[in-house]
């Protein structure tokens, strides 16, 4: 080794160190955002068709926009500190009309609505996005929100009858794992199918002038699904579904007019249209990049007030103002950060330090202190906090056991001493306050009776029950409640329970796979009607996730959909809730109060029953900018 090098080496090392420092510093700094809020945890996705939670909702509401928008009305708050929330024509649609029988909705899309890549937003975008959402291969958990549209449920569930008009997608996709762009789609009449729905014989109709001629004579061909367990002889195909165009009541009249036909009169349909699962996605973008890559910052195209700048896992989602947004004039914020801070104490601390302008969670123990402050905003919320029970597990499959578990929880103690924000203990699933609806109640807190129920079920003292694990998403509040309930069940029933926490996205997936014993859950009403709480628990409902099934319940929910008399309908729903509370696949715990702390310099923030706060309506007070 040359001597000179040896001598100089320490200086080289020093230089390397300094360079490393400079590089480290450059990574550690980020320009500040105008507005930062805590979104609670890392969001699962920004794809409207695949999201179910409210953290995702806040971001999706910034990046996309539906035909209508849920808007907090600009008026004085009521005695609860709330303002009403309406699905207004503040969205892509500038007006809409409803037919007299309430079955046909016609939306007129505004001229100025464009995507962030310059394309105009057309009716076809909505038709395509809703079709994507209904397609079984997308696996959208909220697809049932569109089941009110005639024929949509049939398409979504893949139900077929002989003689139906069907569509067949052949195995010639550009990318076999991506649903879009789709392979060749043939249409015809279903002649026969086997009982597993794997082999089909279809009378394929020819095309004439680019459209399918259903009257013409066709040719019979047989098809076998690619996922068939037994190899079949037919042409390989991906899917055989009801023909979308002729079955589903979504029609594109022209580029700016979308006509939707419903099965039954549904007064809350506008609320559904204003809810994020029904937001559109850009077809070109999705077909070019595929799922999930189309949601990446460089690729994503949205039509909302903001565009996605970047997503840092477990740090933040940064959105910047979309200059092309049709209403860009009222958007005052330029850069918005949705932070993913799980810890409530850290969130509060960041708020106090000025790093956050709005926090959606605060540590429970000091809520009594925080309530005295002006920036602490709380109001009743149409939301229930409950525990799901996986009714397929041995032991938990017994109704008596579940009822015992419910009656051993002291909900009053939880709301008084743990959550401390004035929540109400819950004995029903549907929260109070919905006009005309009478809730069905489950058992109240009675440890003695709970023990007896357990003995009756043959599990005296908890013997014979599997090890129950309470799953919750990481948050001090959920942990505390879980620990208290753990102690309740130990003390009153003698059952040993373990706790497990997962971060939000994984927690959602785990529950969706019903890979849990008991799991914490919260459900926000998507519209002001009891149905939003009850229709999720039908057999195989995508948001059921408890393996619970009751045919009578399904029947009541279905009947309520087509019942026109208001009182009769609410009575049907009440009966459904009665069954739900009797069989107890869920343990309701309390009804939420929304809790937000917002910096005084922020204007345009108001409490409402769904705790919805559109980002583009928030403004920073001029003096404090």
């Amino acid at each position: 080794m040359p001597h000179g090098f040896r001598k100089v080496f320490p200086y080289i090392a020093l230089l390397v160190l300094v360079a490393a420092m400079v590089w480290a510093v450059s990574f550690g700094t980020l320009p500040r955002a105008d507005f930062a809020f805590n979104n609670g945890d890392e969001i699962k996705t920004v794809d409207p068709a695949k999201a179910t939670g409210s953290p995702e909702g806040r971001v999706i509401n910034g990046l996309f926009e539906g035909l209508l928008r849920q808007t907090p009305l600009d008026q004085e708050s009521d005695e609860n500190g709330q303002v009403p929330l309406q699905p207004e024509t503040n969205g892509v649609a500038e007006r809409y009309t409803v037919s007299d029988d309430g079955l046909v909705y016609t939306f007129h899309i505004r001229e100025a609505a464009v995507w962030s890549n310059g394309d105009k937003v057309t009716a076809d975008d909505f038709a395509w996005s809703w079709r994507r959402m209904l397609h079984p291969e997308t696996g959208s958990q909220y697809a049932y929100q569109l089941h009110y549209v005639s024929g949509a449920m049939q398409y979504n569930l893949g139900t077929l009858q002989v003689g139906d008009q069907v569509e067949v997608e052949l195995d010639d996709r550009r990318d076999p794992q991506q649903l879009f762009p789709r392979g060749t789609v043939l249409k015809g009449l279903l002649v026969s199918r086997d009982e597993d729905n794997e082999n089909f014989t279809i009378d394929i109709k020819p095309l004439r002038d680019g459209k399918v001629d259903w009257q013409a004579a066709g040719s019979e061909q047989s098809f076998t699904k690619l996922t068939a367990k037994q190899p079949g002889s037919g042409t390989k195909c991906h899917h055989v579904l009801a023909d979308f165009g002729s079955t589903v009541g979504i029609t594109v009249e022209d580029a700016a007019t979308l006509v939707v036909r419903l099965e039954n009169r549904t007064p809350y349909f506008p609320d559904l249209v204003a809810f994020y699962p029904l937001y559109p996605v850009n077809r070109r973008c999705v077909e070019e990049h595929g799922t999930p890559n189309w949601t990446k910052p460089g690729n994503i195209v949205g039509n909302g007030p903001f565009v996605l700048q970047f997503r840092r896992i477990r740090d933040r989602v940064r959105m910047v103002k979309n200059p092309k947004y049709w209403n860009a004039d009222i958007v005052q914020l330029d850069v918005v950060d949705a932070m993913a801070v799980k810890s409530q104490t850290t969130s509060l601390n960041m708020y106090m330090n000025g790093q956050l302008d709005w926090t959606t969670t605060v540590p429970n123990p000091i809520i009594p202190e925080l309530r005295k402050r002006d920036d602490f905003i709380t109001a009743p919320m149409l939301t229930t906090y409950f525990y799901r029970i996986n009714v397929e597990l041995p032991g938990l499959d017994k109704v008596l056991v579940r009822r015992a578990l419910n009656m051993a929880v002291d909900k009053q103690e939880i709301v008084e001493k743990v959550t401390k924000a004035g929540q109400l203990p819950a004995r029903s699933y549907v929260p109070p306050g919905l006009p005309g609806f009478e809730s069905a109640l489950c058992g109240e807190f009675n440890p003695e009776k709970a023990r007896k129920l357990l003995v009756e079920a043959g599990h005296a003292g908890g013997r014979g029950l599997p090890k129950i694990e309470i799953l919750y998403n990481t948050s001090e509040s959920h942990r505390d409640i879980a620990q208290v309930i753990q102690q309740h069940w130990k003390k009153h029933l003698g059952i040993d329970v373990v706790l497990r926490n997962l971060e939000w996205a994984t927690y959602l997936d785990t529950i969706h796979k019903t890979d849990y014993a008991v799991a914490r859950a919260g459900w926000i009403g998507d519209y002001a009607d009891a149905n939003t709480f009850l229709d999720m628990f039908i057999t195989d409902g995508t948001n059921n996730q408890t393996n619970w099934s009751n045919k009578k319940y399904d029947g009541l929910i279905e009947a309520a959909k087509s019942e026109t008399d208001v009182a009769a309908r609410l009575s049907l729903l009440h009966q459904a809730e009665r069954i739900l509370m009797d069989e107890q696949p869920i343990i309701p715990i309390y009804f939420y109060r929304s809790i937000n702390m917002v910096h005084p310099r922020i204007e345009g923030f108001s409490a409402n029953i769904q705790d919805v706060h559109p980002l583009h309506l928030l403004r920073i007070r001029p003096a404090e900018r």
Partner: protein, 403 residues
């Protein structure tokens, strides 16, 4: 050889031998251990640490006997976040115990009087459920039979009185002071057992490699080298998550292996490497000593040589490394519990306490006691162990013999 026994004993020889014997008796030979102990005693820091550790171990062992509050009972509402205070705590233990004993006695009597097999099994079921539901289960977390005995004794000794919450209460109103003691049990047990596991593996591995030498030795040491370069901590965390998979966990539990037992082995598996290397080095230098040669000459088997001669002679250095490994193991267990992949509630460990305590600090009210006391306990124990380790290392250093 000439048979010397027929030669008459020369009186001068006898005297000579007698004098030698007398001199030998007077000069007391000193064993390695006595010498080391003498040196250790002079090291003040080590002695203080030793006393502290002995006290700690005793209190951990005897925790059920101590008049502590319940480590698991929650006092929601006003009982949460109490600062350290001197308000006496009373648990209705005497009454509960009496009630429990009476119920058991009554059930036993009915069991004896039972006539049909069905009645008997029903009563047995009820008996079992009462036992599972007893106040012992409620106030303490699943105590074993010996622990129960100790708790009973404590109730007899102290009645309903318990030490007040001198370290405050945590977010669910549980007494921090008692949680410290129960956490000490877990932390110390994991520390000691995992270290013993690593000792066992390391010593046997190193001794075998060192003694066998040659190609076997080289291969074995290469394996150690490979393990050394892997960041084992990450691999262990990966392994823990795999073993946490519900189906695997269930099948392991069937064999009686619960999470803590897995820890003993996994944590021990990280720290045996250094022990193996050190022991091997020591064995290699001892291998060529005369006394080993002698043993081999008289026909001692390999195993006998390894276990009877070599290993006792490396004990010194092994003990030194033992005292260096225990704090490392304890620290790792606390690390895992802090991250949430270690000991799970309702079990308590110091790492878990620090984690919970940290989560309770808010900008408006600083509930400092949970974090501080558990952190202090952990720090002091690790301190004491490292001082003791240093002292032992100096004491057992053969170069310092007779100084």
């Amino acid at each position: 050889m000439t048979d010397q026994s027929t030669r008459p004993h020369d009186p001068r020889d006898l005297e000579h031998y007698a004098t030698l014997l007398e001199n030998a008796h007077r000069e007391k030979g000193i064993s390695l251990w006595k010498d080391a102990w003498r040196r250790l005693r002079r090291n003040k820091a080590s002695m203080v640490s030793l006393v502290f550790l002995v006290l700690l171990s005793l209190s951990a062992l005897l925790t059920p006997l101590l008049p502590l509050q319940s480590p698991v009972e929650q006092h929601l509402g006003d009982g949460t976040f109490q600062p350290p205070g001197m308000t006496a705590a009373h648990l209705p233990l005497l009454e509960l115990r009496q009630e429990y004993d009476e119920t058991i006695a009554e059930l036993d009597a009915r069991l004896d009087a039972a006539e049909t097999a069905q009645q008997r099994s029903e009563l047995e079921d009820e008996l079992e459920s009462i036992v599972l539901n007893s106040p012992f289960e409620r106030y303490w977390n699943k105590p074993g039979p010996i622990t129960r005995l100790m708790i009973r004794f404590r109730i007899s000794l102290f009645g309903n009185w318990s030490v007040p919450s001198i370290c405050g209460t945590d977010n669910l109103g549980r007494d921090v002071f008692s949680r410290l003691f129960w956490g000490a049990r877990v932390s110390l047990v994991v520390g000691i057992v995992a270290t013993l596991v690593s000792l066992l593996i390391g010593v046997s591995y190193g001794a075998t490699a060192g003694y066998l030498g040659g190609r076997v030795d080289r291969i074995m040491m290469r394996i150690v080298d490979i393990f050394y370069s892997v960041p084992f901590i990450f691999v262990v965390i990966f392994l823990i998550t795999i073993l946490d998979e519900p189906s695997i966990k269930a099948s392991l539990e069937q064999f009686g292996i619960d999470r803590i037992t897995i820890f003993y082995f996994l944590i021990g598996a990280i720290y045996w490497l250094t022990m193996a290397r050190v022991v091997r080095g020591q064995i290699i230098s001892l291998k060529n000593e005369q006394f080993i040669e002698a043993a081999r000459t008289i026909g001692a088997s390999r195993a006998r040589i390894i276990f009877r001669h070599l290993i006792p002679n490396v004990m010194g250095i092994v003990i030194v490394y033992l005292t260096l490994t225990i704090p490392a193991v304890m620290r790792f267990e606390a690390f895992l519990s802090f991250l949430g992949i270690g000991v799970a509630p309702p079990d308590v460990s110091w790492g878990l306490l620090v984690n919970e305590g940290l989560q309770d600090i808010t900008p408006i009210k600083i509930y400092w006691w949970s974090v501080t006391f558990s952190g202090l306990a952990l720090a002091m124990t690790l301190f004491a162990l490292s001082f003791l380790g240093d002292g032992l290392r100096d004491a057992l250093d053969p170069r310092m013999k007779n100084r």
